[in-house]
Amino acid sequence: MSTAMKNIQASYAFMERNANLVKRYWAWEIVWLVYSIANSLSVSFIGLGMEALSGAEANVNGRYLVLYLVIGTLVWRYLTTIFYWITEVISIERWEGTIEYTLMAPINRAVHMAGQTIFAVVYGLFFTGVIMAVTVMIFDVDLTNANLMGALLMLISGSLSFIGISIMFSVLPLLFPERGAQMTHIVVAVLMLVSGVYYPIEVLPDFLQAISVISPATYVLDGVRLAILEGASTNTLWPYVWPVLLMGIVAIPIGLKVFGLAEKYAKRTGKLARNG
């Protein structure tokens, strides 16, 4: 068997395994989906709430606000789904006790991550699609002028940079077996704060706005909002697409290098052994 075929087979191993895990943990998947839908709806209702609280004379466009917040919740759900599937590459296996078997298999870490990543993107798109369908139905959102393909392109482009960041931070559970998985939540919280998930970044203090420039989520959110709220053509999204592509091209190799170094450190200090 050629090396390329072996690599495809190995990458597929992670996709198939994750699909089997989703299938076997179906009850949990439903719970998570209901939670995500409820979360998305409750945030989006703030738009209508603002309209009601401000009164008719304030002329607040509640429908626009709802769609603004819906986009925030959906994009954020998609990006964090990718983030958690990748950062949990170690913690899931440590929990199950299979980490040593996976890491002693003769596969390149890039092949390993590719399998995990492809699954994360497909799962993320499906999961977010279901939440979007329910949300759009409940709020009776009008998407006739939205450039949905442009928004999808923006999301997929943004995935690359999030993949790189996720690989970098997936080393936390490797280096800190007891609390590493929880540490990844800090990264998500900071990115959420600075990226303008539920508000324009212009409302942030200057120092947070400066940080928002290096967050790929900032560009993804701006690009998707432009495509859906303004119906901007795909060509006009390029100023938002290229920064996230560039971040991905830089972040993925750095992430793999960081993971390689962390793996070596874990093998040196004996941190691979299971706990839990």
Binding site: M5, Q9, A13, R24, G97, G270
Partner: protein, 294 residues
């Protein structure tokens, strides 16, 4: 003879825990007479006064060679360093000092070349508990470049050979007994057709019938496939009947290494009966027993 050795372990040392002698804070404490270092107990994992674990010398200048198609046993009490040694050979740990060569490759510099030739069965059968044996094994097989209908058929064949009933192959692992899970772990290792198989207490927890089935599989692997086996076990009878040579480890060191027959010649059973490997083991490692008796 040297060229026939597929595993060469040369003066390997593996330590765990914080090397307190190197720590700045410890040096400061030492200067003021408050150091937690206790050189006499440096190989113990007892926490020091500041709550940090002391350095543990898990493998201490271990050297041995394993010949092609040999069954090499490693015996030792709990905590003697057997599993650490297996992890070092399996590329899961890196040695602090010394050198390991597996089929001509250094696991540290050429891990993938080593990983292609080895596999391991550990004492705890580690699987995705919600997944079935088939789902777990097809995942494991794909990591080694296998897959498809043929592999699925092979999985069924190996599992039934190991005594697993067909209806159990598609049930979640969590519904199975420890013995059944251990058989699936052995099947996982066999699927990749390793040239060297590292078996870390593979029969622990198995009933006598299952134990014999596993032992028969080990013999078949050696006789039919030419596999080299490194086996750790607490079952002295198993070591006696399966191993060409046996090393006895104690406190991280190899304290005896020979064929079971030669080892048995070194000790008297003390009860007039024929000396067993267990007599040798207790004679060489039973210092705690003696301390308690005193």
């Amino acid at each position: 003879m040297q060229s026939n050795n597929v595993i060469i372990v040369d003066q390997v040392i593996k330590k765990f825990g914080k090397n307190q002698k190197a720590g700045l804070w410890t040096q400061i404490r030492k200067r003021f007479g408050r150091s937690g270092i206790d050189g006499a107990k440096a190989n113990q994992s007892k926490p020091s006064k500041n709550g940090k674990k002391k350095e543990v010398l898990a493998v201490n200048k271990v050297s041995f060679e394993v010949g092609n198609n040999e069954v090499f046993g490693v015996l030792g009490p709990n905590g003697s360093g057997k599993s650490t040694l297996i992890r070092l050979l399996a590329t899961l740990l890196l040695p602090d000092e010394g050198k390991i060569t597996i089929m001509g490759f250094d696991p540290e510099t050429h891990p993938m070349q080593v990983q292609e030739k080895i596999n391991r069965v550990s004492v705890e059968a580690s699987f995705f508990k919600k997944l079935s044996p088939m789902e777990n094994l097809i995942y494991g097989a794909r990591l080694y470049g296998k897959g498809g209908k043929e592999t699925r058929e092979e999985i069924v064949k190996i599992l039934t050979r190991l005594g697993l009933e067909k209806n159990n192959i598609y049930r979640p692992m969590e519904e199975m007994s420890r013995g059944m899970q251990q058989k699936v772990a052995i099947a996982r290792a066999l699927l990749s057709k390793p040239e060297i198989l590292l078996l870390d207490e593979p029969t622990t927890g198995l009933d006598p019938v299952s134990k014999r089935e596993v032992q028969a599989v080990i013999r078949e692997l050696v006789e039919n496939d030419g596999t080299t086996i490194l086996l750790t076990t607490h079952d002295m009878f198993e070591a006696d009947i399966l191993c060409n040579r046996v090393a006895i480890m104690h406190k991280g060191k190899i304290i005896a290494l020979d064929t079971p027959e030669e080892l048995k010649k070194t000790v008297s059973s003390g009860n007039g009966k024929e000396t067993t490997l267990e007599d040798v083991f207790i004679h060489l490692t039973g210092d705690k027993l003696r301390e308690h008796a005193e």
